[in-house]
């Protein structure tokens, strides 16, 4: 049965409707934004999603738990490792298994490396959307080093699938610690270059300060988490409030800014890269010896009940809800996607600003479309 589309209010006479996407260099994926303009001012933005909907949640109802890990890589492919970790933690919580300390350390180091490379790619595309195309190459040059580390240890650059319920699929490569330390040394020198190129630039500041302001109450109400929420002063870091893994033992700061505009969201992500490096430095030399995986049964069956796990992905809070009926497939698996909630605030943020600002705001919210559409 079909539903009639309600008049979404965009087809008024004086308004000029343009379509940004689905094929467009700036929407970072296949997203269609129907924008209603009056001159240069945006009156309303309506996102149309679903171009890359693959039915991951429905597929998971017929897959075993180790098989589900391979699907989670493809959600928000820039935080692949963190997505894997989320499902693994949920399963381990349900089975009440304690993973070895070694696993916790390695998972945290890889998660922070994932966060760094995700923010680097965000920086590249943000600069490019604003017109400074050189940023794209500088960020990618450094991101390649992280991807090389992933490739050596996990076997894949972007799609890692290194976690498994109970621990890791295989032990780390002997070169891992050395390469991570080299990367940290190299990146500490390069990150100030990023600031010199883009952050301090007057043109960039004029285009991002006081653009797209969201207050703290609105951020909480719309569910805008992650760096986008922290730019408005919403302290939502899951690693701090509901720690998992080794995060209660590491020392790091959650960057919070009060203004809530595009520039503060930008600054939060730059600061997060420094904080991630701090976390890695505390962990990299102290990886304890031990097993890389706890003893698990060959067929994993979760006891009957509902389980929820929250992790801090690069974009915000990722939630995994598993409803199990006692057999080897989940009865229902729901993934709470950070990008969908961030996108829902786009209309509020962009109304009243110009088209050029819409691009900047979309870039600062940093949504990844496969995460929205799942």
């Amino acid at each position: 049965m079909t539903e009639e589309n309600k008049n979404s209010g965009l087809d008024k006479e004086e308004e000029y409707i343009i379509n940004i996407g689905p094929q467009h260099p700036s929407t970072h994926g296949v997203l269609r934004l129907v924008v209603s303009l009056k001159g240069e001012i945006v009156k309303s933005v309506e996102p149309h999603c679903g171009y890359i909907h693959r039915g991951i949640e429905k597929m998971c109802e017929k897959l075993t738990y180790p098989q589900i890990i391979h699907l989670t890589d493809r959600l928000d492919y820039l935080s692949a490792h963190i997505n894997n970790e989320a499902v693994c933690l949920c399963v381990e919580k349900a089975l009440e298994i304690e993973v070895p300390e070694r696993v916790k350390y390695i998972r945290a180091i890889l998660s922070e490396l994932t966060r760094i490379q995700s923010h680097e790619l965000w920086w590249c595309s943000f600069g490019m959307d604003m017109g400074a195309t050189t940023c794209y190459f500088y960020g990618l040059r450094d991101r390649e080093k992280v991807l090389d580390i992933f490739e050596e240890t996990c076997g894949g650059r972007m799609i890692v699938s290194y976690n498994t319920p109970g621990g890791l699929m295989n032990d780390i490569h002997p070169n891992f610690q050395k390469r991570v330390k080299e990367f940290l040394k190299h990146f500490r020198k390069k990150l100030p270059e990023y600031d010199q190129l883009l952050t301090g630039n007057v043109i960039m500041q004029e285009r991002t300060k006081n653009i797209g302001i969201i207050s703290r109450e609105d951020a909480i109400s719309y569910g805008v988490t992650g760096p986008s929420g922290r730019g408005s002063g919403f302290s939502c870091d899951v690693r701090k409030h509901h720690p998992y893994g080794i995060y209660d033992k590491v020392d790091f700061v959650e960057p919070l800014y009060k203004t809530g505009d595009t520039f503060s969201r930008y600054k939060v992500r730059m600061d997060e890269m420094w904080e991630s490096m701090k976390i890695i430095e505390q962990l990299i030399d102290n990886i304890p010896e031990g097993d890389y995986c706890a003893k698990m049964k060959p067929v994993i069956k979760l006891p009957e009940g509902e389980y929820y796990q929250r992790v801090e992905a690069a974009r915000g809070e990722l939630g995994v809800y598993i409803n199990s009926r006692g057999d080897k497939y989940p009865y229902r698996l729901k993934l709470r996607s950070p990008s969908l909630s961030n996108l829902s605030a786009l209309n509020l943020l962009a109304s009243g600003f110009k088209i050029a600002d819409l691009i900047a705001i979309g870039g600062s919210l940093d949504y990844v479309i496969p995460d929205i559409d799942r």
């Binding site: 467009h24 260099p25 700036s26 190459f137 110009k354």
Partner: protein
């Protein structure tokens, strides 16, 4: 055949004389114009090819990569390959577009650049049109390119092109004021609008040094305004690929797109050569008044090398802007012009006039 690379006047006089001696005056004039026209067309094409290649290489080196290096040694033949590709592309006719204006627009843009390039002094004696209102002529002719841009956007029957053309039109018309006023500052210093007089007057020092403070301010403003005039660098909102696909030339394909593209580069060459002529001495070598030995060494380098060297250096600076800075938004662009550059410019003209009256220049 007298060919002196330091002074082309003898060469051009020899061609002129031999033509008028051997043919009737009418035919001699026609042949002479044909020769000059063909020479300019060739020069235009070669400069266009070279600039496109240079842009790609400069851009690549700034972005930590190499740029074209497969087609020919060091990728020199890349632009020719691109040209062939563009020539072979289908010219897609738009259904509801105004056909006459749609086809006319690229030609207007090309013709205005062609007219402007004829008035530039390349070296002593290599100066095709030497009006006594040289600078005024160049400004007037290059202002006509905005007609081509607006026609292109309007006749494409496309919302994006229209938005892009409107933005571009507003931008070009605004920044012409700044370009004109900064050139007027130097005309005040030089006392004449004729380009050859301006260049000759810099024989003992370039205007940017002679006119110290107001000339430097005028140069900086000219550089900013000229980048905005040619829709380049941080002012390329009209063709911002990440926002509106391609702005006013979205619907053009094949050779017509090649015309817009080429015209943009030649425009860049024209504004850079005007800057080099008016502020940096044109084809005059770098002389310091009083240091005869130094001046003799500087004189050893032929004038056209000086001219092209200066022009390409300014082109390099313009390209540097484009690949480093993010884009300005349209209202910030117009605010910059009307609220900041225009008052500074007006004040600068007054300052220069005052300095000339008092005789406080070198």
């Amino acid at each position: 055949m007298p060919f002196n690379i330091y002074d082309f006047t003898s060469f051009t006089q020899w061609i002129d004389k031999s033509l008028y001696d051997s043919l009737s005056p009418l035919w001699a004039m026609i042949w002479e114009m044909t020769i000059i026209g063909v020479a300019f067309l060739l020069f235009y094409a070669v400069i266009g090819l070279f600039l496109v290649y240079a842009e790609r290489k400069v851009c690549a080196f700034m972005q930590c990569r190499i740029g074209p290096n497969r087609v020919g040694p060091y990728g020199i033949i890349q632009t020719i390959a691109d040209l062939f590709k563009l020539l072979m592309k289908e010219l897609i006719p738009i259904k509801n577009a105004d056909k006459f204006l749609f086809n006319l627009a690229p030609f207007i843009v090309i013709i205005t650049t062609f007219l402007a390039i004829a008035a530039i002094p390349f070296a002593k004696g290599l100066h095709a049109i030497d009006f006594n209102i040289g600078i005024f002529y160049i400004l007037a002719v290059s202002s006509m390119s905005v007609i081509g841009v607006l026609l292109a956007g309007w006749s494409s029957n496309n919302k994006y092109s229209l938005i892009g053309a409107m933005r571009s039109g507003a931008q070009i018309v605004s920044y012409e004021l700044s370009v004109g006023l900064s050139l007027i500052t130097i005309i005040v210093l030089a006392g004449s609008m004729q380009l050859s007089t301006i260049v000759e007057a810099q024989a003992d020092g370039w205007f940017i040094f002679k006119g110290h403070i107001p000339a430097i301010i005028a140069f900086i403003i000219y550089l900013i305004a000229a980048t905005a005039e040619t829709n380049r660098g941080p002012f390329d909102l009209a063709e911002a690929e990440s926002e509106l696909t391609a702005g006013y030339h979205t619907e053009y394909s094949g050779i017509k797109f090649a015309f817009f593209y080429l015209a943009e580069f030649i425009n860049m060459f024209i504004v850079a050569s005007i800057a080099a002529t008016v502020f940096w001495g044109g084809w005059m070598p770098f002389h310091i008044g009083g240091w005869e030995a130094f001046n003799n060494i500087m004189d050893y380098i032929p004038p056209f090398i000086w001219f092209f060297g200066k022009t390409f250096f300014i082109i390099f600076i313009i390209m540097w802007f484009k690949w480093t800075f993010p884009r300005l938004r349209i209202d910030q662009l117009l605010t910059l012009e009307w609220k900041y550059l225009l008052p500074i410019n007006l004040f600068n003209v007054l300052l220069m006039a005052f300095i000339v009256l008092m005789g406080w220049h070198f």
